[in-house]
């Protein structure tokens, strides 16, 4: 792979311009060319790229748009970007090739969303050798950040030194000359732009990370966890309503489900009427967001589901995809109406009020949380081992679904309360549980998707070309059924891991 040294950027004061730079850098000539580029900083809503020290810009030039990846110590990587929605980039929108592949692996199913928009006016200079060949490219950049319509804040001026392949020595000399005058390289422009616009680079987190100690009162611990989960819902709700990234909805639903799980497992901390009302309200939120999420998953997995469909029939599936997209749009409209309704506002305010202050008044309110949560972990684990051991080849699917539900409760208990026990004991159990839940999840997701697709049958048949679409749909359902059987076949191995004597010992020895 051609090895190009990374560009080096120095901050410039107002007095330093092209003429001064020309004095510092022998052989430099001023091109006279000035180029203005609009750059939009992209990241996932949870700041995945920022956490890895990566900066991705979408550069809107005069003639085309380019994606640029900046990474400390590495040459910038660029790739042209084809037409796409202006407000987000999903994995499928990213270009083919190294850059696109790398970003797809990092963002997974999340979208790259605009964080901040800057404009960079760059004056070109170059250092040439005796043949008048460019051996180092230099730009003097004047960036500004757009904070509102018509409001631009100037950022610090910079000089950027770019290597030309095969002329490393000349690059090193230029960098050394500028280091002597300008000191250390400048911090990344992205950080300065975000700070000027008042935006947190870390993004929106769905992590809970509530500090718990085993002796804490259970009502205090429960209130702290539920408040943090409610914050996650509030932080993600605008993203859900804007419909920018399906993962906003996923994270919101996980937070609601976790809250419901805490309510169920720790119900003895509250008085019964309060529990009953909150459970109804949270269940309703979960229900009104369900259809949109199911269709998001279906559309996301569509490419892998249609893999076995013969190429000659692929076009027959197009009406089906359009139907799914219409269904999804309708489901979203219903969900948005629900999430902006008075019912939601009332339910959410009541839930917020309930968890605002501890003193829940239930029989276990004052009990140490370590004792209560530990007891629940043991009880749920035991019930899972019992239920799972009873599942055989002929057991109905409902038994696996029920086991999955219990598994989610155990996982949330471990994730939310597990901090009170040594990580080395909790982690192997979580790993075994995840392995089991993956299999159960695939089994149930495939079943939901088969049901969903079967339900579309009449509408598909009625559409023009419906018979061909139905035949192609048969292939998709066949593949889903095959996958579901594979997941079922894997269940026994995963369950044996989960219910192994080692894990039983950990559970009973640790959480008692």
């Amino acid at each position: 792979m051609p090895r190009l040294p990374a560009p080096v950027v120095f901050a410039l004061d107002h007095g330093t311009g092209e003429r001064r730079l020309a004095r510092w850098l022998p052989g430099v000539t001023v091109d006279g060319a000035t180029r203005t580029v609009d750059r939009i900083l992209l990241d996932t809503f949870d700041g995945r790229l920022h956490r890895r020290g990566l900066t991705v810009w979408m550069e809107e030039g005069r003639d085309a748009t380019v994606l640029r990846l900046e990474e400390p110590g590495v040459a910038d990587h660029t790739a042209p970007l084809a037409a796409r929605r202006a407000d987000r980039l999903l994995g499928a929108d990213l270009p083919d090739g190294v850059l696109g592949d790398r970003l797809r692996a990092l963002i997974e199913e999340r979208a790259l969303l605009p964080q901040v928009r800057i404009r960079v006016r760059g004056h070109s200079l170059r250092i040439c050798n005796e043949d008048d060949k460019t051996v180092v490219r230099i730009t003097l950049d004047e960036p500004s950040v757009k904070v509102a319509r018509g409001v631009d804040i100037p950022l610090g001026r910079r000089v950027r030194v770019n290597a030309v392949l095969g002329y490393d020595r000349e690059m090193a000399k230029a960098v050394a000359a500028l280091s002597r005058r300008l000191g250390e390289p400048a911090p990344p422009l992205a950080g300065e732009a975000l700070a000027a616009a008042g935006i947190a680079a870390e993004g929106v987190s769905s992590g809970v990370d509530v500090a718990l100690v085993a002796q804490m009162r259970s009502d205090e611990a429960m209130a702290a966890i539920c408040r943090r989960l409610a914050d996650v819902v509030d932080d993600h709700r605008p993203g859900v309503l804007a419909d920018l990234d399906p993962e906003f909805l996923h994270d919101l639903r996980v937070a609601v489900r976790r809250s419901r799980s805490v309510l169920k497992e720790m119900r003895s901390v509250l008085l019964a009427p309060a529990v009953a009302r909150a459970r109804v309200d949270l269940k309703w939120i979960q229900e009104v967001t369900g259809p949109t999420r199911d269709l998001d998953v279906l559309l996301h997995e569509w490419p892998s589901m249609v893999g076995p469909v013969p190429a000659s029939m692929a076009a027959d599936l197009r009406p089906l995809v359009e139907l799914l997209e219409r269904e999804r749009a309708e489901a979203f409209t219903v969900m948005r109406r629900a999430l902006t309704s008075r019912r939601f506002a009332r339910a959410w305010a009541a839930w917020r009020e309930l968890i605002a202050e501890p003193g829940f008044g239930g029989p276990d309110a004052a009990r140490p949380v370590g004792e209560l949560a530990g007891g629940r972990i043991i009880a749920v684990y035991r019930s899972m081992v019992k239920a799972g051991s009873a599942i055989g080849d002929g057991s109905p699917p409902e038994e696996l679904h029920e086991l999955r539900k219990r598994g989610k409760e155990l996982r949330y208990l471990l994730e939310l309360f597990g901090v009170m026990w040594p990580e080395k004991l909790v982690k192997p159990l979580v790993t075994a549980l995840k392995g089991l839940q993956d299999v159960l999840g695939h089994f149930q997701d495939d079943e939901i998707q088969v049901r969903e697709l079967r339900g579309l049958g009449p509408a598909v048949a009625a559409a023009p070309g419906g018979t061909d679409s139905l035949i192609a749909l048969g292939f998709v359902i066949d593949e889903l059924t095959r996958r579901q059987h594979a997941a079922r076949a894997d269940f026994s191995r995963r369950f044996t891991d989960f219910a192994s004597p080692d894990n039983r010992r950990i559970v009973h020895g640790t959480f008692r």
Binding site: M1, P2, A33, D63, Y167
Partner: protein, 259 residues
């Protein structure tokens, strides 16, 4: 990565001009482009102001004892790099002859660059030799400049026959007329007649223009210093037609400034 090679048995027909201008146009459209100057005369290398020197010479390069990536030079055009010529390339046939499967050798040398470049353009020396055969095997398409003369057309027919009969996986062929003077009746007759007879011949032609001759003085592709002149426009039209004929796609889209 697609590999194009400008090729003709005859010299002085416009191979290097086509190679450097195609390379500049492709890079300007955002294709990450590599131009390999295979001609020991090093004209393309000279035009990009790069020293015609490859560390270790042709022996190390062909025997894969040099890392090709270490030999590349960036040009003054963004997205366009050059693997320079070296005078030792005059021994290319001998060195290739000493390797196993010489006809596959160029392709294998280019393989590791596949993820870094969208397009490789080989500027070939005029000859029919072991090197040409290796080019025919590794290139996806031959770009064949023709001058509007009867003998030139005869050599084109020879090339078509050779490629069809001797090459296992024959490259596509895009031929075009260069140095065309429409004021000359013979030029008009040959261009129109041959154009009708061979579907491989492009509609776009490169005129005999002083702009092209000035490349040696400017040491830049004509599309960089005179993009709106007759030659600049002709190369752009020819490139666009080539992209379409070879289904290279509309171009990744980024138009860097080729100046």
């Amino acid at each position: 990565m697609r590999v194009l090679a400008t090729y003709n048995i005859k010299g002085g027909v416009g191979k290097t001009s086509a190679a450097v201008n195609f390379a500049a146009l492709a890079a300007g459209q955002g294709y990450r482009t590599l131009l390999w100057d295979l001609d020991p005369q090093g004209s393309a290398t000279y035009l990009f102001r790069v020293k015609p020197k490859v560390r270790g010479g042709v022996h190390k390069l062909i025997e894969r004892r040099s890392d090709v990536a270490e030999l590349l030079k960036g040009t003054d055009i963004e997205h366009l790099d050059l693997l320079p010529a070296d005078f030792s390339y005059r021994h290319m046939d001998l060195v290739l002859g000493a390797t196993k499967r010489p006809e596959a050798r160029l392709g294998r040398l280019l393989e590791p660059l596949g993820r870094d470049y969208d397009l490789v353009i080989l500027d070939c020396p005029p000859s029919i030799s072991l090197l040409s055969e290796s080019v025919f095997e590794s290139a996806d398409a031959l770009i064949v400049p023709l001058i509007p003369a009867t003998l030139s057309v005869r050599t084109f027919e020879q090339l078509l026959r050779f490629v069809e009969e001797q090459v296992v996986d024959p490259p596509e062929i895009v031929a075009f007329f260069s140095m065309v003077d429409r004021r000359k009746r013979l030029h008009r007759e040959v261009v129109d007649g041959v154009g009708h007879r061979y579907p491989q011949v492009a509609t776009a032609v490169i005129p005999a223009a002083s702009d092209v001759e000035r490349m040696g003085v400017e040491r830049r592709p004509v599309v960089a210093y005179a993009p709106s002149g007759p030659a600049g426009r002709a190369y752009r039209a020819l490139w666009d037609e080539t992209v379409e004929r070879l289904a290279l796609g509309p171009g990744p889209g980024h138009r860097a400034d080729p100046h």
